[in-house]
Amino acid sequence: MRAFLLRRLVHAVFVVWGVVTVVFFLVRLTGDPAALLVDPSATREEIAQARHALGLDRPLLVQYAEFLRAAPLGDFGLSLRERRPAMRTVLEHFWPATAQLAFAALVLAVVVPIPLGVIAATHRNGVLDHASRLGALFLQSMPSFWLGLMLILLFAVALGGLLPAFGWGTPSHLILPALTLAAAPLAQNVRLIRAGMLEVLQHDYVRTARAKGLAERGVIYRHAFRNAAGPFLTVSGLSLGFMLSGTIVIETVFSWPGMGRLIVQAVPGRDFPVIQAAVFLFALVFVAVNLVVDVLQGLLDPRARVFGGGA
Protein backbone atom coordinates (compact mmCIF):
# COMPACT_ATOMS: atom_id res chain seq x y z
CA MET A 1 0.00 0.00 0.00
CA ARG A 2 2.84 2.38 0.83
CA ALA A 3 4.52 1.81 -2.53
CA PHE A 4 1.20 2.42 -4.23
CA LEU A 5 0.66 5.69 -2.35
CA LEU A 6 4.16 6.83 -3.14
CA ARG A 7 3.77 6.02 -6.82
CA ARG A 8 0.51 7.93 -7.06
CA LEU A 9 2.03 10.90 -5.24
CA VAL A 10 5.07 11.04 -7.51
CA HIS A 11 2.77 10.86 -10.49
CA ALA A 12 0.66 13.74 -9.13
CA VAL A 13 3.74 15.89 -8.54
CA PHE A 14 4.89 15.16 -12.07
CA VAL A 15 1.53 16.17 -13.48
CA VAL A 16 1.54 19.42 -11.48
CA TRP A 17 4.99 20.19 -12.87
CA GLY A 18 3.61 19.61 -16.36
CA VAL A 19 0.68 21.88 -15.58
CA VAL A 20 2.97 24.70 -14.42
CA THR A 21 5.03 24.27 -17.58
CA VAL A 22 1.97 24.49 -19.81
CA VAL A 23 0.78 27.62 -17.98
CA PHE A 24 4.25 29.14 -18.39
CA PHE A 25 4.36 28.55 -22.12
CA LEU A 26 0.72 29.53 -22.59
CA VAL A 27 1.37 33.28 -22.57
CA ARG A 28 4.45 32.74 -24.72
CA LEU A 29 2.46 31.01 -27.50
CA THR A 30 2.28 34.12 -29.59
CA GLY A 31 5.80 35.30 -28.87
CA ASP A 32 5.79 38.33 -26.63
CA PRO A 33 4.24 37.80 -23.19
CA ALA A 34 4.93 41.43 -22.21
CA ALA A 35 2.15 42.62 -24.49
CA LEU A 36 -0.22 40.23 -22.71
CA LEU A 37 0.91 40.94 -19.19
CA VAL A 38 0.43 44.70 -19.23
CA ASP A 39 -2.58 46.91 -19.78
CA PRO A 40 -3.90 46.50 -23.37
CA SER A 41 -3.78 50.29 -23.84
CA ALA A 42 -0.06 50.52 -22.99
CA THR A 43 2.29 52.32 -25.37
CA ARG A 44 5.33 50.64 -26.88
CA GLU A 45 7.62 52.32 -24.32
CA GLU A 46 5.44 51.16 -21.46
CA ILE A 47 5.52 47.60 -22.79
CA ALA A 48 9.31 47.73 -23.04
CA GLN A 49 9.47 49.08 -19.51
CA ALA A 50 7.16 46.32 -18.26
CA ARG A 51 9.22 43.72 -20.09
CA HIS A 52 12.22 44.80 -18.08
CA ALA A 53 10.32 45.17 -14.81
CA LEU A 54 8.77 41.69 -15.15
CA GLY A 55 12.14 40.21 -16.07
CA LEU A 56 10.90 39.13 -19.49
CA ASP A 57 14.13 40.32 -21.13
CA ARG A 58 16.07 37.60 -19.35
CA PRO A 59 16.89 34.24 -20.97
CA LEU A 60 13.87 31.92 -21.28
CA LEU A 61 15.40 29.25 -19.06
CA VAL A 62 16.00 31.74 -16.25
CA GLN A 63 12.40 32.90 -16.53
CA TYR A 64 11.18 29.30 -16.49
CA ALA A 65 13.23 28.47 -13.40
CA GLU A 66 11.84 31.55 -11.67
CA PHE A 67 8.29 30.59 -12.66
CA LEU A 68 8.76 27.02 -11.40
CA ARG A 69 9.73 28.48 -8.04
CA ALA A 70 6.97 31.07 -7.83
CA ALA A 71 3.93 29.32 -9.33
CA PRO A 72 3.53 26.48 -6.80
CA LEU A 73 3.57 29.18 -4.09
CA GLY A 74 0.68 30.85 -5.86
CA ASP A 75 2.68 33.83 -7.12
CA PHE A 76 1.34 34.67 -10.58
CA GLY A 77 1.93 38.41 -10.35
CA LEU A 78 -0.63 41.18 -10.03
CA SER A 79 -4.06 41.11 -11.61
CA LEU A 80 -4.09 43.81 -14.29
CA ARG A 81 -7.61 44.86 -13.48
CA GLU A 82 -7.51 44.81 -9.72
CA ARG A 83 -3.82 45.57 -9.17
CA ARG A 84 -3.43 42.95 -6.47
CA PRO A 85 -2.09 39.37 -6.38
CA ALA A 86 -3.90 37.37 -9.07
CA MET A 87 -4.04 34.20 -7.00
CA ARG A 88 -5.74 36.02 -4.13
CA THR A 89 -8.47 37.23 -6.49
CA VAL A 90 -8.90 33.72 -7.87
CA LEU A 91 -9.05 32.13 -4.42
CA GLU A 92 -11.65 34.61 -3.24
CA HIS A 93 -13.85 33.57 -6.14
CA PHE A 94 -13.18 29.89 -5.64
CA TRP A 95 -14.07 30.02 -1.97
CA PRO A 96 -16.90 30.09 -1.14
CA ALA A 97 -18.90 30.69 -4.34
CA THR A 98 -17.50 28.03 -6.71
CA ALA A 99 -16.86 25.50 -3.96
CA GLN A 100 -20.45 25.89 -2.76
CA LEU A 101 -21.89 25.37 -6.23
CA ALA A 102 -19.66 22.42 -7.12
CA PHE A 103 -20.25 20.75 -3.75
CA ALA A 104 -24.04 21.13 -3.90
CA ALA A 105 -24.07 19.75 -7.44
CA LEU A 106 -21.77 16.89 -6.49
CA VAL A 107 -24.02 15.86 -3.59
CA LEU A 108 -27.03 15.93 -5.92
CA ALA A 109 -25.26 13.95 -8.61
CA VAL A 110 -23.82 11.31 -6.29
CA VAL A 111 -26.47 10.79 -3.59
CA VAL A 112 -29.71 10.99 -5.57
CA PRO A 113 -28.68 8.35 -8.15
CA ILE A 114 -28.03 5.66 -5.51
CA PRO A 115 -31.68 4.81 -4.70
CA LEU A 116 -32.78 5.62 -8.26
CA GLY A 117 -30.15 3.35 -9.82
CA VAL A 118 -30.95 0.51 -7.41
CA ILE A 119 -34.66 0.77 -8.19
CA ALA A 120 -33.96 0.91 -11.93
CA ALA A 121 -31.97 -2.31 -11.58
CA THR A 122 -34.41 -4.17 -9.35
CA HIS A 123 -37.37 -3.06 -11.46
CA ARG A 124 -35.84 -3.65 -14.85
CA ASN A 125 -37.87 -2.22 -17.75
CA GLY A 126 -40.00 -0.34 -15.24
CA VAL A 127 -40.98 3.29 -15.57
CA LEU A 128 -37.89 4.56 -13.74
CA ASP A 129 -35.62 2.37 -15.84
CA HIS A 130 -36.96 3.82 -19.09
CA ALA A 131 -37.14 7.36 -17.74
CA SER A 132 -33.53 7.26 -16.62
CA ARG A 133 -32.40 5.87 -19.97
CA LEU A 134 -34.16 8.68 -21.85
CA GLY A 135 -33.05 11.26 -19.30
CA ALA A 136 -29.40 10.27 -19.60
CA LEU A 137 -29.56 10.31 -23.40
CA PHE A 138 -31.25 13.71 -23.60
CA LEU A 139 -29.26 15.40 -20.87
CA GLN A 140 -25.92 14.43 -22.35
CA SER A 141 -27.12 15.67 -25.74
CA MET A 142 -27.82 19.24 -24.66
CA PRO A 143 -25.43 21.97 -23.56
CA SER A 144 -25.77 22.45 -19.80
CA PHE A 145 -26.04 26.21 -20.22
CA TRP A 146 -29.11 25.75 -22.40
CA LEU A 147 -30.71 23.56 -19.75
CA GLY A 148 -29.96 26.43 -17.35
CA LEU A 149 -31.65 28.96 -19.62
CA MET A 150 -34.70 26.71 -19.94
CA LEU A 151 -34.90 26.27 -16.16
CA ILE A 152 -34.72 30.05 -15.76
CA LEU A 153 -37.44 30.40 -18.37
CA LEU A 154 -39.60 27.93 -16.47
CA PHE A 155 -38.99 28.78 -12.82
CA ALA A 156 -38.11 32.46 -12.93
CA VAL A 157 -40.17 33.69 -15.88
CA ALA A 158 -43.14 31.39 -16.59
CA LEU A 159 -43.84 30.51 -12.95
CA GLY A 160 -43.58 34.17 -11.97
CA GLY A 161 -40.29 34.17 -10.08
CA LEU A 162 -40.72 31.01 -8.05
CA LEU A 163 -36.91 30.76 -7.90
CA PRO A 164 -34.36 33.53 -8.44
CA ALA A 165 -32.62 33.44 -11.82
CA PHE A 166 -29.50 35.39 -10.97
CA GLY A 167 -27.22 36.14 -8.08
CA TRP A 168 -25.80 34.54 -5.00
CA GLY A 169 -26.35 34.52 -1.27
CA THR A 170 -29.43 32.62 -0.14
CA PRO A 171 -30.05 28.87 -0.45
CA SER A 172 -32.78 29.51 -3.01
CA HIS A 173 -30.18 31.11 -5.29
CA LEU A 174 -28.27 27.86 -5.22
CA ILE A 175 -31.12 25.60 -6.41
CA LEU A 176 -31.21 26.32 -10.15
CA PRO A 177 -27.45 26.49 -10.80
CA ALA A 178 -26.77 23.33 -8.76
CA LEU A 179 -29.60 21.47 -10.48
CA THR A 180 -28.34 22.53 -13.92
CA LEU A 181 -24.80 21.47 -13.13
CA ALA A 182 -25.87 18.14 -11.60
CA ALA A 183 -28.50 17.08 -14.13
CA ALA A 184 -26.38 15.29 -16.74
CA PRO A 185 -24.00 13.46 -14.35
CA LEU A 186 -26.97 12.56 -12.15
CA ALA A 187 -28.77 10.82 -14.99
CA GLN A 188 -25.60 9.09 -16.10
CA ASN A 189 -24.84 7.89 -12.58
CA VAL A 190 -28.29 6.32 -12.34
CA ARG A 191 -27.43 4.28 -15.44
CA LEU A 192 -24.04 3.39 -14.05
CA ILE A 193 -25.37 2.16 -10.71
CA ARG A 194 -28.08 0.23 -12.53
CA ALA A 195 -25.52 -1.50 -14.74
CA GLY A 196 -23.27 -2.29 -11.75
CA MET A 197 -26.18 -3.64 -9.71
CA LEU A 198 -27.46 -5.83 -12.56
CA GLU A 199 -24.05 -7.43 -12.80
CA VAL A 200 -23.56 -7.91 -9.08
CA LEU A 201 -27.06 -9.27 -8.50
CA GLN A 202 -26.20 -12.35 -10.59
CA HIS A 203 -23.41 -13.41 -8.26
CA ASP A 204 -23.60 -16.39 -5.96
CA TYR A 205 -23.10 -14.44 -2.75
CA VAL A 206 -26.27 -12.49 -3.47
CA ARG A 207 -28.13 -15.76 -3.93
CA THR A 208 -26.58 -17.06 -0.72
CA ALA A 209 -27.60 -13.94 1.16
CA ARG A 210 -31.13 -14.38 -0.08
CA ALA A 211 -31.08 -18.08 0.76
CA LYS A 212 -30.04 -17.23 4.31
CA GLY A 213 -33.38 -15.44 4.51
CA LEU A 214 -32.00 -11.92 4.79
CA ALA A 215 -34.45 -9.11 4.14
CA GLU A 216 -34.32 -8.01 0.49
CA ARG A 217 -33.29 -4.47 1.47
CA GLY A 218 -30.31 -5.87 3.38
CA VAL A 219 -29.32 -8.04 0.43
CA ILE A 220 -29.54 -5.12 -1.97
CA TYR A 221 -27.74 -2.45 0.01
CA ARG A 222 -25.44 -4.45 2.31
CA HIS A 223 -24.31 -7.15 -0.09
CA ALA A 224 -24.92 -6.03 -3.64
CA PHE A 225 -24.53 -2.25 -3.63
CA ARG A 226 -21.27 -2.35 -1.71
CA ASN A 227 -19.72 -4.35 -4.48
CA ALA A 228 -21.25 -2.26 -7.21
CA ALA A 229 -19.96 0.94 -5.62
CA GLY A 230 -16.31 0.69 -6.73
CA PRO A 231 -16.59 1.92 -10.32
CA PHE A 232 -19.17 4.43 -9.14
CA LEU A 233 -16.57 6.02 -6.87
CA THR A 234 -14.19 6.55 -9.78
CA VAL A 235 -16.89 8.10 -11.89
CA SER A 236 -17.97 10.36 -9.02
CA GLY A 237 -14.42 11.67 -8.85
CA LEU A 238 -14.48 12.32 -12.55
CA SER A 239 -17.88 13.99 -12.11
CA LEU A 240 -16.28 16.51 -9.79
CA GLY A 241 -13.76 17.41 -12.47
CA PHE A 242 -16.55 17.65 -15.00
CA MET A 243 -18.44 19.93 -12.62
CA LEU A 244 -15.47 22.19 -12.13
CA SER A 245 -15.32 22.92 -15.84
CA GLY A 246 -19.11 23.01 -15.92
CA THR A 247 -19.04 25.85 -13.40
CA ILE A 248 -17.44 28.08 -16.04
CA VAL A 249 -20.53 28.15 -18.22
CA ILE A 250 -23.09 27.72 -15.46
CA GLU A 251 -21.68 30.58 -13.38
CA THR A 252 -21.91 32.78 -16.45
CA VAL A 253 -25.55 31.82 -17.04
CA PHE A 254 -26.60 32.47 -13.44
CA SER A 255 -24.24 35.41 -12.73
CA TRP A 256 -22.73 33.32 -9.93
CA PRO A 257 -19.70 35.23 -8.57
CA GLY A 258 -17.25 32.31 -8.78
CA MET A 259 -13.97 31.34 -10.36
CA GLY A 260 -15.56 30.23 -13.64
CA ARG A 261 -17.16 33.58 -14.29
CA LEU A 262 -13.92 35.27 -13.20
CA ILE A 263 -11.89 33.45 -15.85
CA VAL A 264 -14.46 34.28 -18.55
CA GLN A 265 -14.45 37.94 -17.55
CA ALA A 266 -10.66 38.01 -17.48
CA VAL A 267 -10.43 37.06 -21.17
CA PRO A 268 -11.74 40.23 -22.88
CA GLY A 269 -9.66 42.36 -20.49
CA ARG A 270 -6.70 40.08 -21.28
CA ASP A 271 -5.97 39.80 -17.55
CA PHE A 272 -3.42 37.03 -18.03
CA PRO A 273 -2.08 36.76 -14.49
CA VAL A 274 -5.63 35.93 -13.39
CA ILE A 275 -6.12 33.48 -16.27
CA GLN A 276 -2.84 31.74 -15.44
CA ALA A 277 -3.67 31.54 -11.73
CA ALA A 278 -7.18 30.22 -12.44
CA VAL A 279 -6.00 27.61 -14.95
CA PHE A 280 -3.39 26.47 -12.43
CA LEU A 281 -5.93 26.19 -9.62
CA PHE A 282 -8.42 24.33 -11.80
CA ALA A 283 -5.77 21.78 -12.76
CA LEU A 284 -4.53 21.49 -9.19
CA VAL A 285 -7.98 20.69 -7.82
CA PHE A 286 -8.47 18.23 -10.67
CA VAL A 287 -5.21 16.42 -9.90
CA ALA A 288 -5.98 16.38 -6.17
CA VAL A 289 -9.42 14.89 -6.75
CA ASN A 290 -7.99 12.18 -8.99
CA LEU A 291 -5.36 11.37 -6.40
CA VAL A 292 -7.93 11.06 -3.62
CA VAL A 293 -10.15 8.85 -5.79
CA ASP A 294 -7.22 6.60 -6.70
CA VAL A 295 -6.21 6.23 -3.07
CA LEU A 296 -9.78 5.50 -1.93
CA GLN A 297 -10.08 2.98 -4.71
CA GLY A 298 -6.85 1.36 -3.56
CA LEU A 299 -8.16 1.19 0.00
CA LEU A 300 -11.45 -0.36 -1.07
CA ASP A 301 -10.12 -2.75 -3.64
CA PRO A 302 -6.57 -4.12 -3.35
CA ARG A 303 -6.62 -5.13 -7.02
CA ALA A 304 -6.70 -1.46 -8.03
CA ARG A 305 -3.32 -0.90 -6.34
CA VAL A 306 -1.70 -3.03 -8.99
CA PHE A 307 -3.73 -2.16 -12.05
CA GLY A 308 -4.83 1.39 -11.38
CA GLY A 309 -2.19 3.39 -13.16
CA GLY A 310 -4.07 5.90 -15.28
CA ALA A 311 -4.29 9.65 -14.78
Binding site: V15, H130, M142, V157, V264, I275
Partner: protein, 279 residues
Protein backbone atom coordinates in the same frame (compact mmCIF):
# COMPACT_ATOMS: atom_id res chain seq x y z
CA UNK B 1 -42.21 -1.04 -25.30
CA UNK B 2 -38.57 -0.84 -26.16
CA UNK B 3 -37.90 0.41 -29.69
CA UNK B 4 -35.17 -1.61 -31.45
CA UNK B 5 -31.83 0.11 -31.38
CA UNK B 6 -31.22 0.04 -35.11
CA UNK B 7 -34.51 1.78 -35.79
CA UNK B 8 -33.61 4.55 -33.35
CA UNK B 9 -30.20 4.77 -35.02
CA UNK B 10 -31.87 5.14 -38.40
CA UNK B 11 -33.83 8.12 -37.14
CA UNK B 12 -30.61 9.56 -35.72
CA UNK B 13 -28.86 9.07 -39.04
CA UNK B 14 -31.76 10.78 -40.82
CA UNK B 15 -31.46 13.77 -38.46
CA UNK B 16 -27.72 14.04 -39.23
CA UNK B 17 -28.23 13.77 -43.00
CA UNK B 18 -31.08 16.29 -42.97
CA UNK B 19 -29.14 18.82 -40.92
CA UNK B 20 -26.12 18.43 -43.18
CA UNK B 21 -28.37 18.98 -46.21
CA UNK B 22 -30.02 22.03 -44.61
CA UNK B 23 -26.59 23.47 -43.76
CA UNK B 24 -25.31 22.90 -47.29
CA UNK B 25 -28.41 24.38 -48.90
CA UNK B 26 -28.66 27.27 -46.43
CA UNK B 27 -28.16 30.00 -49.08
CA UNK B 28 -31.05 28.59 -51.14
CA UNK B 29 -33.37 27.80 -48.22
CA UNK B 30 -32.88 30.76 -45.88
CA UNK B 31 -35.79 33.20 -46.16
CA UNK B 32 -33.48 36.15 -45.45
CA UNK B 33 -29.85 37.19 -45.22
CA UNK B 34 -28.80 35.94 -41.75
CA UNK B 35 -26.76 39.09 -41.08
CA UNK B 36 -29.28 41.67 -42.33
CA UNK B 37 -30.59 43.94 -39.59
CA UNK B 38 -34.15 45.20 -39.68
CA UNK B 39 -34.66 47.25 -36.56
CA UNK B 40 -38.33 47.93 -37.37
CA UNK B 41 -39.03 44.19 -37.19
CA UNK B 42 -36.93 43.49 -34.08
CA UNK B 43 -38.16 40.83 -31.65
CA UNK B 44 -40.95 39.67 -33.95
CA UNK B 45 -42.41 36.50 -32.34
CA UNK B 46 -42.75 33.19 -34.24
CA UNK B 47 -45.37 33.14 -37.00
CA UNK B 48 -48.09 31.27 -35.06
CA UNK B 49 -48.16 33.84 -32.26
CA UNK B 50 -49.96 37.17 -32.11
CA UNK B 51 -47.81 39.71 -33.93
CA UNK B 52 -45.86 37.04 -35.81
CA UNK B 53 -45.55 36.84 -39.58
CA UNK B 54 -44.69 34.05 -42.03
CA UNK B 55 -41.94 36.27 -43.39
CA UNK B 56 -40.07 35.20 -40.21
CA UNK B 57 -41.39 31.71 -39.32
CA UNK B 58 -39.41 31.50 -36.06
CA UNK B 59 -39.36 35.23 -35.39
CA UNK B 60 -36.50 37.73 -35.36
CA UNK B 61 -33.79 38.63 -32.87
CA UNK B 62 -32.96 41.91 -31.17
CA UNK B 63 -31.52 43.37 -34.36
CA UNK B 64 -34.42 42.15 -36.48
CA UNK B 65 -32.42 39.32 -38.05
CA UNK B 66 -34.39 36.27 -39.19
CA UNK B 67 -34.02 33.38 -36.71
CA UNK B 68 -34.62 30.56 -39.23
CA UNK B 69 -31.92 31.90 -41.54
CA UNK B 70 -29.47 32.23 -38.68
CA UNK B 71 -30.25 28.68 -37.53
CA UNK B 72 -29.60 27.33 -41.04
CA UNK B 73 -26.27 29.12 -41.36
CA UNK B 74 -25.44 28.24 -37.75
CA UNK B 75 -25.74 24.56 -38.64
CA UNK B 76 -22.76 25.05 -40.93
CA UNK B 77 -20.59 26.31 -38.09
CA UNK B 78 -21.59 23.51 -35.73
CA UNK B 79 -21.09 20.72 -38.25
CA UNK B 80 -17.87 22.10 -39.72
CA UNK B 81 -16.29 22.59 -36.29
CA UNK B 82 -17.61 19.27 -34.98
CA UNK B 83 -16.36 17.14 -37.83
CA UNK B 84 -13.08 18.89 -38.66
CA UNK B 85 -11.91 19.13 -35.05
CA UNK B 86 -12.61 15.42 -34.53
CA UNK B 87 -10.83 14.45 -37.76
CA UNK B 88 -7.84 16.53 -36.67
CA UNK B 89 -7.82 14.99 -33.19
CA UNK B 90 -8.36 11.48 -34.56
CA UNK B 91 -5.60 11.61 -37.17
CA UNK B 92 -3.16 13.16 -34.71
CA UNK B 93 -4.06 10.79 -31.89
CA UNK B 94 -4.11 7.58 -33.93
CA UNK B 95 -0.78 8.44 -35.56
CA UNK B 96 0.90 9.15 -32.23
CA UNK B 97 -0.76 6.11 -30.62
CA UNK B 98 0.35 3.70 -33.37
CA UNK B 99 3.93 4.93 -33.29
CA UNK B 100 3.95 5.02 -29.49
CA UNK B 101 2.60 1.50 -29.10
CA UNK B 102 4.69 -0.02 -31.89
CA UNK B 103 8.08 1.35 -30.95
CA UNK B 104 7.57 1.78 -27.19
CA UNK B 105 10.54 3.07 -25.24
CA UNK B 106 11.27 6.70 -24.40
CA UNK B 107 8.95 8.14 -27.04
CA UNK B 108 6.08 6.07 -25.67
CA UNK B 109 6.80 7.20 -22.10
CA UNK B 110 7.04 10.84 -23.11
CA UNK B 111 3.81 10.82 -25.13
CA UNK B 112 1.82 9.04 -22.46
CA UNK B 113 3.06 11.39 -19.71
CA UNK B 114 2.18 14.34 -21.96
CA UNK B 115 -1.30 12.85 -22.22
CA UNK B 116 -1.50 12.60 -18.41
CA UNK B 117 -0.62 16.27 -18.08
CA UNK B 118 -3.16 17.31 -20.65
CA UNK B 119 -5.92 15.33 -19.00
CA UNK B 120 -5.18 17.23 -15.79
CA UNK B 121 -6.75 20.30 -17.37
CA UNK B 122 -10.50 20.41 -17.68
CA UNK B 123 -10.81 20.56 -21.48
CA UNK B 124 -12.89 23.72 -21.53
CA UNK B 125 -10.46 25.57 -19.25
CA UNK B 126 -7.54 24.76 -21.52
CA UNK B 127 -9.51 25.77 -24.62
CA UNK B 128 -10.50 29.11 -23.04
CA UNK B 129 -6.94 29.87 -21.97
CA UNK B 130 -5.46 29.07 -25.38
CA UNK B 131 -8.18 30.99 -27.25
CA UNK B 132 -7.54 33.96 -24.95
CA UNK B 133 -3.97 34.01 -26.24
CA UNK B 134 -4.40 33.15 -29.92
CA UNK B 135 -7.77 34.88 -30.38
CA UNK B 136 -11.19 33.48 -31.33
CA UNK B 137 -12.42 32.56 -34.80
CA UNK B 138 -13.51 29.46 -36.68
CA UNK B 139 -9.99 28.25 -37.57
CA UNK B 140 -8.61 28.71 -34.08
CA UNK B 141 -11.60 26.96 -32.47
CA UNK B 142 -11.12 23.93 -34.76
CA UNK B 143 -7.40 23.94 -34.04
CA UNK B 144 -7.78 24.20 -30.28
CA UNK B 145 -10.56 21.61 -29.98
CA UNK B 146 -8.70 19.33 -32.40
CA UNK B 147 -5.26 19.51 -30.87
CA UNK B 148 -6.55 19.14 -27.29
CA UNK B 149 -8.58 16.07 -28.26
CA UNK B 150 -5.78 13.70 -29.27
CA UNK B 151 -5.22 11.85 -25.97
CA UNK B 152 -8.19 9.46 -26.06
CA UNK B 153 -7.40 8.33 -29.61
CA UNK B 154 -3.73 7.92 -28.83
CA UNK B 155 -4.50 5.76 -25.79
CA UNK B 156 -6.86 3.49 -27.70
CA UNK B 157 -4.56 3.16 -30.73
CA UNK B 158 -1.58 2.50 -28.47
CA UNK B 159 -3.40 -0.14 -26.48
CA UNK B 160 -4.51 -2.03 -29.59
CA UNK B 161 -1.07 -1.76 -31.16
CA UNK B 162 0.58 -3.15 -28.01
CA UNK B 163 -1.67 -6.17 -28.09
CA UNK B 164 -1.20 -6.71 -31.83
CA UNK B 165 2.47 -6.17 -32.40
CA UNK B 166 3.51 -9.67 -31.39
CA UNK B 167 0.59 -11.50 -32.98
CA UNK B 168 1.35 -14.05 -35.71
CA UNK B 169 0.05 -12.07 -38.65
CA UNK B 170 2.15 -9.07 -37.70
CA UNK B 171 5.25 -11.19 -37.05
CA UNK B 172 4.56 -12.93 -40.34
CA UNK B 173 4.39 -9.69 -42.27
CA UNK B 174 7.64 -8.62 -40.64
CA UNK B 175 9.31 -11.91 -41.51
CA UNK B 176 8.27 -11.38 -45.13
CA UNK B 177 10.18 -8.10 -45.08
CA UNK B 178 7.37 -5.57 -44.70
CA UNK B 179 8.48 -2.14 -43.57
CA UNK B 180 7.20 -0.76 -40.23
CA UNK B 181 5.01 1.87 -41.88
CA UNK B 182 3.48 -0.81 -44.07
CA UNK B 183 2.77 -3.09 -41.11
CA UNK B 184 1.15 -0.26 -39.18
CA UNK B 185 -0.92 0.86 -42.15
CA UNK B 186 -1.99 -2.51 -43.55
CA UNK B 187 -2.16 -4.74 -40.48
CA UNK B 188 -2.52 -2.68 -37.33
CA UNK B 189 -4.61 0.32 -38.38
CA UNK B 190 -7.57 -1.73 -39.71
CA UNK B 191 -7.86 -3.39 -36.31
CA UNK B 192 -7.81 -0.06 -34.51
CA UNK B 193 -10.41 1.64 -36.70
CA UNK B 194 -13.64 0.17 -35.26
CA UNK B 195 -12.99 1.44 -31.72
CA UNK B 196 -11.74 4.74 -33.08
CA UNK B 197 -14.88 5.21 -35.19
CA UNK B 198 -17.08 4.70 -32.15
CA UNK B 199 -15.10 7.13 -29.99
CA UNK B 200 -14.95 9.68 -32.82
CA UNK B 201 -18.71 9.63 -33.28
CA UNK B 202 -19.33 10.52 -29.64
CA UNK B 203 -16.57 13.14 -29.90
CA UNK B 204 -18.36 14.93 -32.73
CA UNK B 205 -21.35 15.29 -30.42
CA UNK B 206 -19.21 16.58 -27.56
CA UNK B 207 -17.27 18.93 -29.84
CA UNK B 208 -20.46 20.52 -31.14
CA UNK B 209 -21.47 21.20 -27.54
CA UNK B 210 -17.97 22.52 -26.76
CA UNK B 211 -18.10 24.94 -29.70
CA UNK B 212 -21.54 26.11 -28.59
CA UNK B 213 -20.21 26.64 -25.06
CA UNK B 214 -17.19 28.62 -26.28
CA UNK B 215 -19.36 30.76 -28.56
CA UNK B 216 -21.86 31.23 -25.73
CA UNK B 217 -19.01 32.60 -23.61
CA UNK B 218 -18.00 34.92 -26.46
CA UNK B 219 -14.77 33.01 -27.14
CA UNK B 220 -15.76 30.92 -30.13
CA UNK B 221 -17.08 32.19 -33.42
CA UNK B 222 -17.18 36.00 -33.27
CA UNK B 223 -20.36 37.89 -34.26
CA UNK B 224 -22.06 38.62 -36.57
CA UNK B 225 -21.43 35.09 -37.91
CA UNK B 226 -24.40 32.96 -36.81
CA UNK B 227 -23.36 30.23 -34.38
CA UNK B 228 -25.94 28.43 -32.27
CA UNK B 229 -23.96 29.08 -29.10
CA UNK B 230 -23.61 32.79 -29.86
CA UNK B 231 -27.33 32.99 -30.64
CA UNK B 232 -28.08 31.58 -27.19
CA UNK B 233 -25.73 34.13 -25.67
CA UNK B 234 -27.66 36.93 -27.36
CA UNK B 235 -30.96 35.34 -26.41
CA UNK B 236 -30.28 34.92 -22.71
CA UNK B 237 -30.80 38.61 -21.98
CA UNK B 238 -34.26 38.54 -23.55
CA UNK B 239 -35.83 35.58 -21.74
CA UNK B 240 -38.85 37.65 -20.74
CA UNK B 241 -39.48 39.45 -24.04
CA UNK B 242 -38.10 37.02 -26.62
CA UNK B 243 -38.08 33.47 -25.24
CA UNK B 244 -37.81 32.03 -28.78
CA UNK B 245 -34.27 33.37 -29.06
CA UNK B 246 -33.16 31.06 -26.24
CA UNK B 247 -35.37 28.11 -27.23
CA UNK B 248 -34.77 27.33 -30.91
CA UNK B 249 -30.95 27.34 -31.13
CA UNK B 250 -30.90 24.98 -28.12
CA UNK B 251 -33.43 22.66 -29.76
CA UNK B 252 -31.27 22.65 -32.90
CA UNK B 253 -28.21 21.61 -30.88
CA UNK B 254 -30.24 18.98 -29.02
CA UNK B 255 -31.57 17.47 -32.27
CA UNK B 256 -28.20 17.19 -33.99
CA UNK B 257 -26.28 15.98 -30.92
CA UNK B 258 -29.00 13.50 -30.00
CA UNK B 259 -28.91 12.14 -33.55
CA UNK B 260 -25.17 11.67 -33.38
CA UNK B 261 -25.32 10.04 -29.94
CA UNK B 262 -27.88 7.40 -30.92
CA UNK B 263 -25.88 6.59 -34.05
CA UNK B 264 -22.84 6.31 -31.77
CA UNK B 265 -24.68 3.89 -29.49
CA UNK B 266 -25.61 1.75 -32.45
CA UNK B 267 -22.06 1.82 -33.88
CA UNK B 268 -20.70 0.74 -30.50
CA UNK B 269 -23.05 -2.22 -30.35
CA UNK B 270 -22.30 -3.28 -33.91
CA UNK B 271 -18.64 -2.46 -34.48
CA UNK B 272 -17.12 -2.92 -31.10
CA UNK B 273 -19.05 -5.02 -28.61
CA UNK B 274 -16.01 -5.03 -26.32
CA UNK B 275 -16.32 -1.31 -25.57
CA UNK B 276 -18.19 -0.84 -22.36
CA UNK B 277 -21.82 0.10 -22.73
CA UNK B 278 -22.02 3.42 -20.93
CA UNK B 279 -25.79 3.54 -20.94
Amino acid sequence: MRVPRDRVALVGLAVIVISAALATLAPALAPADPARNDLLARLTPPAWMAGGSWAHPLGTDTLGRDVVSRLLYGARVSLIVGFSAVVLAGVLGVLLGLVSGYYGGRLDDALMRLGDVQLAFPALVLAIAVLAVVGSGLGNVVLVLGVTGWVTYARIARGETLSLRHREFVEGARALGARDAEILWRHVLPNVLPSITVVATFSVARTIIAEASLSFLGLGIPPPAPSWGAMLDEGRNYLTTGWWLALFPGLAILAVVLGINVVGDWLRDTLDPRLERGL
